[in-house]
Every structure is written in structure tokens, then in C-alpha cells.
């Protein structure tokens, strides 16, 4: 199969033209799409591609009336460009001049311009000289019959758009992230906005007649949205989005050449959609899989801390709290005793204990009896100490009653990062020696009042 694909790519001139053309288009639209996405304007391509219709129809009518060849590509492109630009100006004006939101503005421009275009098309169909057949393919695309000139046109436009966006990437970044700041620094933000819209119009009009309306929208939206799952940096995002755009264009065109009934436009969109799904699941930033893994490991860590603290508190209640140094093993603890410290099931406690054995924090003497190892003792002390420091902090800073302390601290302490722990340590630095576990400010459920409980000495 790969050999066949290779052969197709190697020898079929038409396929090569299509692949090159769509790849360049994917590259350019991926890049422009990034800025649109960051500007929260992902669907601007949707509005502008629909809005080219009245321009195309109008120049067709005018050219026919003047007796020119109305189906010549430059004339139609000019019409598309004019109405695309007018639509872009309207979008900017409606956004700035009214309180209508982005989605409403795009919906208005899209539907009204497309309405004008449809009305004009219906009139064109009445012209004696020509059908609007040529126009249909101009609007809905004809990827499979892309000719070399189309590929050159797309290549040229892609080059212009890419170099423009790269040259202005710093300014466009400012436009996307902090328009107000940009304005205060004297940057012509409205002009930059129009430059971005101009880039969209350029990509859309060369792409539209090559690959069709819906595909054009997809190429502007999907690669950028997929790239968002891999990086937070604009420069990397530009590269990834262009790559995704180009790769899905190549894959779609090749698949279309290989399977005779598969139209290339939809094939490209489906290839892009697959890349998007892969990014959604496996993306390194915000990917669903990553989120699940993170949530799982966070839950495990929380469980471990609960068990370690439970063991420590039981030992503490027996006045046998392990010390930081000098102990290789703590006293034995039964699973039954642990069961009383929280509302958890026996099987759950056993599962966590198994995990702790695997981490070498706990040693099992029998299925019922466990002791902490030296590293387990350190972890238990640190978990308990951190919990109680936070309880004291809450008690004094947030005025939470003693009864609510344990619960509140329990909710919040597991999301502490190192900075917050360091800040807590700072606050208690003068009162607590390192590794000292302060007494609990409240009676502890399931273990009774610890011998060391002195009622909130701090």
C-alpha cells in the first residue's frame, strides 16, 4: 500500500499539484488561524468565506454587462476580495460601534452577505448568456481538478501571508493578548486588526475556489485549535498549527487520490479532525489523557497522605509518636484502628496500604498489621505537620471554628504547591523546630484525645 501511495505521489502530475497546493494552503491557514483563535475569533473565516459570495456574483453581473469574460479568475478573485474586505470592515465596525458580541456579529455578516449573494446568483441564472456553473465551483471548490496555476496562486498567497504574519508576529501577539496595552503604547491596533483580517481574506479567497467553503473554514479553525493542546508558546504554536494544517492537507489529498470515491476536500477536513482528536486526548497541555493521569496521581497522593497521617495520629494518641531520627520502624498499627480515623471502607484502606508498601513507606507484618519504615516515618511526620500548621493558620487567620478546622484543612492542603508550603513554614518558623509536629488544635476522630493535646497551645 505504501508503495502504491508512493507511486501515486511519484508519478501522477495532477496529484502532485493538488498535494502541493493544499499543503501550502494548510500551512498558511494554520498560521493565520492561530492568531484568530487567540483573538477569540476562530469563526471569522466562516463569516468571511460566506461573505465572498455577493462580491463574486456582483462582479460576474457587472463583467457580463460590460461584455467581458465574466468567468476569468482574476475578475472573480477581485470580486471575492472586495466583498471579503467589506465584510471584514463591517465586522470591525459592528464590534467597535455596537455592544453586539463576536458570535452575533459574525452570524449577522455571514447570513446577510450570503443572502445578498444568493439573491444575485438567482438573477445570474436568468442571464441568457451563461449558466452560473462556473460560479458554483468557484464557491464550493474543485480540489480534484486543481491545476498548476491554482497551486502557484495558492503558493504565492501562502508565502505573502506567512511572511506578513511572521514579520508582524510580535505586534499581532500584542493584538491578541492585550489590545488596551497596545493602544496605550501607541500601536495602531485597529490597523493591525485590519491587517489580520486582510490575511484571512487573502487565504480564504485563494483557498475557496481551490478547496471549497467548509474546508476553508475547517483549515482556519482546526489546526490552530489542535495546536493549542501542545504548547503555551506562540512561536511553537505557529509551527505546530502550520504543520498540522500541511500534514492533514497532504494526507487528505493522498487518501483522495488513493480511494477514487473519496473527495479530497472532506478527506482533508477528516484528516485534520483526526489530528485534532489525537491532540485532544494525548496533547501535552490540557489533553484529556494528561488530565486524567494528573487527577489520578493527585488522588493517590491524597490517599497516601491520609493514611500516613492516620497512622501517625494513632501512634501519637498512644504516646508512641515516631521521631524524625533514629527509628527504622514504628510501632505496629492494625487495619481496624486505621479504619476508625476516616469514613472509608476496609478494602479501600487495604488498597492504599498496598500502594504504600510498594512505595516502601510501610511494611506489612501480617495482612492486619503494618509498621512505618524510616522513609514512611518522615513522610507521615511531614504530612501531619503540614496539616496542623495549616489548621493553626486557618484558626487564626480565617477564624474557622475548631470543629470545622479538620475538614477545611483537608480540602485545601492537597492542592498546596511548594511556594505555599514554604510560606507556611516561614510563618511558623519561630514557633516550630524543623520536623517538629505541633499538637492538634482539635480532638481527632477515631483515636480519642491525644495525650499531647493541650487545647491549641499556639
Amino acid at each position: 500500500m505504501i508503495a502504491t501511495l508512493f507511486a501515486t505521489f511519484q508519478f501522477d502530475y495532477n496529484t502532485r499539484v493538488v498535494v502541493t497546493g493544499t499543503a501550502l494552503l494548510g500551512l498558511a491557514s494554520g498560521m493565520v488561524g492561530v492568531f484568530l483563535l487567540l483573538r477569540k475569533r476562530a469563526l471569522v473565516g466562516d463569516a468571511i468565506s460566506h461573505a465572498t459570495l455577493p462580491g463574486v456574483a456582483a462582479v460576474f453581473l457587472v463583467a457580463t454587462a460590460l461584455g467581458w469574460n465574466a468567468k476569468s479568475l482574476p475578475i472573480l478573485l477581485l470580486g471575492a476580495a472586495i466583498s471579503g474586505i467589506v465584510a471584514a470592515l463591517f465586522i470591525v465596525m459592528l464590534r467597535a460601534g455596537t455592544m453586539l458580541k463576536e458570535d452575533a456579529v459574525l452570524g449577522i455578516i455571514l447570513s446577510v452577505f450570503f443572502g445578498i449573494g444568493t439573491a444575485l446568483l438567482r438573477i445570474i441564472q436568468q442571464l441568457p448568456t451563461g449558466s452560473s456553473a462556473g460560479l458554483e465551483s468557484f464557491i464550493y471548490g474543485k480540489t480534484a481538478n486543481m491545476i498548476a496555476e491554482d497551486a502557484y496562486l495558492i503558493g504565492g498567497a501562502a508565502l505573502v501571508v506567512c511572511s506578513l504574519t511572521l514579520a508582524l508576529s510580535k505586534e499581532l501577539k500584542l493584538l491578541c493578548f492585550d489590545t488596551t496595552f497596545g493602544q496605550s503604547q501607541g500601536w495602531p491596533m485597529t490597523l493591525l486588526d485590519l491587517v489580520l483580517m486582510g490575511a484571512v481574506v487573502t487565504v480564504v479567497i485563494v483557498g475557496l475556489q481551490a478547496v471549497g467553503l467548509i474546508l476553508m473554514i475547517a483549515l482556519l479553525v482546526i489546526p490552530a485549535a489542535a495546536a493549542r493542546f501542545w504548547t503555551h508558546r506562540l512561536s511553537k504554536m505557529l509551527i505546530i498549527a502550520s504543520l498540522i494544517g500541511a500534514v492533514s492537507s497532504i494526507a487528505g489529498s493522498l487518501a483522495s487520490a488513493y480511494f477514487p470515491h473519496l473527495p479530497s476536500g472532506p478527506a482533508i477536513v477528516i484528516a485534520a479532525a483526526i489530528l485534532f482528536l489525537l491532540s485532544l486526548f494525548f496533547g501535552s497541555i490540557g489533553g484529556v489523557l494528561g488530565q486524567v493521569v494528573r487527577r489520578r496521581s493527585h488522588r493517590r497522593e491524597t490517599n497516601h497522605q491520609h493514611v500516613l497521617r492516620g497512622i501517625y495520629e494513632i501512634l501519637e494518641a498512644r504516646d508512641r509518636a515516631p521521631l524524625q531520627r533514629g527509628l527504622l520502624r514504628s510501632d505496629e498499627i492494625s487495619v481496624q484502628a486505621l479504619l476508625g480515623t476516616r469514613s472509608w471502607s476496609l478494602s479501600h484502606v487495604r488498597k492504599i496500604l498496598q500502594q504504600l508498601v510498594a512505595r516502601d513507606y510501610v511494611v506489612a507484618h501480617s495482612p492486619e498489621l503494618y509498621t512505618l519504615t524510616a522513609s514512611g516515618i518522615r513522610a507521615a511526620i511531614s504530612a501531619t505537620r503540614q496539616h496542623r500548621m495549616f489548621e493553626f493558620y486557618l484558626q487564626h487567620q480565617a477564624e474557622i471554628s475548631a470543629a470545622g478546622l479538620d475538614r477545611t484543612a483537608d480540602f485545601a492542603e492537597h492542592v498546596f504547591d511548594d511556594d505555599m508550603v514554604a510560606e507556611l513554614e516561614q510563618i511558623f518558623a519561630s514557633q516550630l523546630a524543623p520536623f517538629e509536629v505541633p499538637p492538634s488544635p482539635h480532638p481527632i476522630d477515631g483515636v480519642g484525645v491525644p495525650a499531647s493535646f493541650r487545647g491549641g497551645a499556639m
Partner: protein
Amino acid sequence: MNALLGELSFAWQWSLDGWIGLAGMLCAMSAALLGCFLLLRRMSLLGDAISHAVLPGIAAAFLISGSRSSAFMFIGAVLVGLLTVWLTEAARSFGRVDEGAATGVVFTSLFAIGLVMIETSASHVDLDPGCVLYGDIEMIPLDLISLGGWQVPRVVAILAVVFVINCSAVIVLRKEFQITTFDAGLARSQGYSPLFMHYLLASLVAITSVCSFEAVGNILVVAMFVVPPATALLLTKRLGPMIVLSLIFAIIAAWVGHISALVVPRWFGFQSTSTSAMMSVIAGLMLLLTVFFSPQHGLVVKFLRRRGMAGAILAEDILATLFRSSESGQDAMDLTSLQRKLLASGFWLRVMLKRLQWRGEIALDGSSIGLTAAGVQRAQNLVRSHRLWEKYLSSETDLVDGRLHVQAEGLEHFTSRQIREQLDQETNRPAIDPHGKKIPPESQ
């Protein structure tokens, strides 16, 4: 006007055009009603998204049932419409993809899948995406069904049912829609489910879109979901009036749209054009008019208001300049020196001079311009405001000397008698301003 009516009576037949207008109106009203909530929830593009995304549903229904029966296609389309909403919501919540981008990803992908389904497996049978998806409003009167002895176009009956469903949903669940739209958090705390309402609205949108595509084509319904509600929002801030206004705009767009589809092309020697397209164009025109001429926020109104303010300030500056000049013993000024002093354009200066003369506050004697008694009174208070502000700002703020004048120059136009009195008190009733100029007394 008579010519227009004449042309119209030539083309208009109630038995045809009445039904077409009625179908357009029902479709427009159904869509505009839901569109109000879509707009407020920032989901205006849902209609557009669903109109493309239903394609695979229709194709699947066709491939499974093997027929073009409306019932199967309808179910398929509504299911995919809901799937669109669900996938968008999933991409938004699981992947934290921006709303617009999520919509774009989902509907383009679904549309592509639909195209592939049609092209690969149904290309040998008659299933053209264009004709399956999008009906033609002009064909409505040809497809009649009998309802209680009346011959009614099938589409009009369907759209009437859709309108009744939408209306009753909005009326019965008005409170729920309102609270979940404006404050989802509050709604949740009160025991309403914003998610349920979200999907309910989406289902209604899907049903409305699918019924309308089949009946009147997609362009009309996509436009009506957005344009009339947006026009209404520019005119009112209250939900009830907004709904009523958007329904009115929808009705106007439908009837005027159909009439202009018949009439306008005739002006250029063509036959009639697409009615549903003209309906959306008319809706767009109404929006444009509102954007420019809406009484509160219209761009023209805003411009006039700003121009009027600028004119009033210029007039006051003329009076104050003449007063200062008379303080230095020169009772009248000519136009050139006034213009040089005020840096104003000659046109607006002359306009405001005329206005002041008409109000009897200045007198023109040849080329020299002087204050009348009434003019002196107003000018005196202006200059008093200016100098009191300078005094106040110099004692109460640490503005540098050069900035005092600029600040006072702006403030003097918005200073009432009460404020002057207060300024006077707080600066211990000064006789001169920081620059040593005399502060004139309050005039009567």
C-alpha cells in the same frame, strides 16, 4: 409608490404569495424567538453550525432507511443536531477549547463526514446535498395537504407546529430560560439545571433548523436566528420587549423580503429573485438602520450628540474669550483674531457666532464682535468658574502651574452655580486666581 403597487399587483397572487409570505413569517418568528436566548448566551452561530452539521444525519437516515422519507431524515437530522451541541460542549469542557473554535471544529468535521458518506456510498443514487438539505420557499404552494377541509401547504402546517412548540416552550419555561441565561450560578443554587435548559434550547434550535431547511432553505433560518434579535438588543435592554421587537422585525423581514424579491429585480429588467435570500437581506437592512439611527446608541445619534457638545463648548469659549478681551480693555474682536485665539475651524466658528447672535448674547457691528449684556452675564460665570477651578486645583492638588489652565478649561463647561458656590467657599472666597487675575462676581 403607485408604480410600485402597480408592479406588485402584476406579480402578486394571494393564493401563492400569501402562503410564501406566511411560511417565511412562521419560520422567521420561530427562529427569532429562540435567537433571543441564543444571542444572550453567545451561541448565535449555533443555527449556522447545525445547518451544516446535520448532513451526516440526513445521509445516515437515507442509507439506513433507503428512502427519502421526511420522517427518517428529520429524526436523523435532529439527532445529529443534538450531537453537534454535545460534541461542542464536550470539546469546550474537557479540552477547554474556545467556544467559537469548538463549534467550528465540530460542524466542519461533521459536514465533511456527511459529504464523504454521500459521495462514497450514495453517489449512484439520487442524493444531492443541495436538494436534500435545502428546500425552496417558492415551491411551497405546490405541495398542499388537507387540514379540516382546508387546502394548506404542508410546509406552512409544519412551520406553524414548530412555532407553537417554540412559543409554548418559551412561555412555560420563561423563568427557567431567563435565570439560566443570565446567571447560571444562581440558577444552579436555586435548583434549576442550566445544562438541561442548554440542551432543551439546542433541541428546539435543531428542530426549528431542520424543519426550516427542508421547507425554506437554510439561509433564511440562519439569518433569523441572529439578525432580528441583534436588532432588538440594540434598541432595548429588557428581555420581554426584546422578544416582542425581534418577532416584529421577523414579521417585517418576511413580508417586505418577499415583496422586494418580486419587485426589486424588475427595476433592473430581471425576473423575481430568491425570496428567502431577500428576507435575510431586509433583516440585515433593518439592523444597519438600527446601528446608525437607534435613538440611544445609534452611530449617527452619537455623532450628532458629540458634535452638539463640541458646538456648545465652542460657543462658551467664544463668550469667555470676548469677556477676557474686554477685561484688557478691548471690547470687540474681529473674526480672524477670534479664530486665531480659539484654533477653531472657520465654518463651525461662524455657525456658533450665528447661534450666539440669535440668542442675543453677542452683537455684530461690522466686522467687530462684542458681548451684549446677556452675553456678559453668561461669560462672567464661565470665567468665574474657570478661575475658581484654577484656585481650587492649585491649593488642593499638586498639579504643576501649566496644567492648571488646561484642567480648568475643561471643567468650566460643566460647572453649575452650586459647584461655583462650593468652590468659592472651599477656597475661602478668593479675589484673584493663581495667575493674579481678578475672579469676577457671580452674575444674576
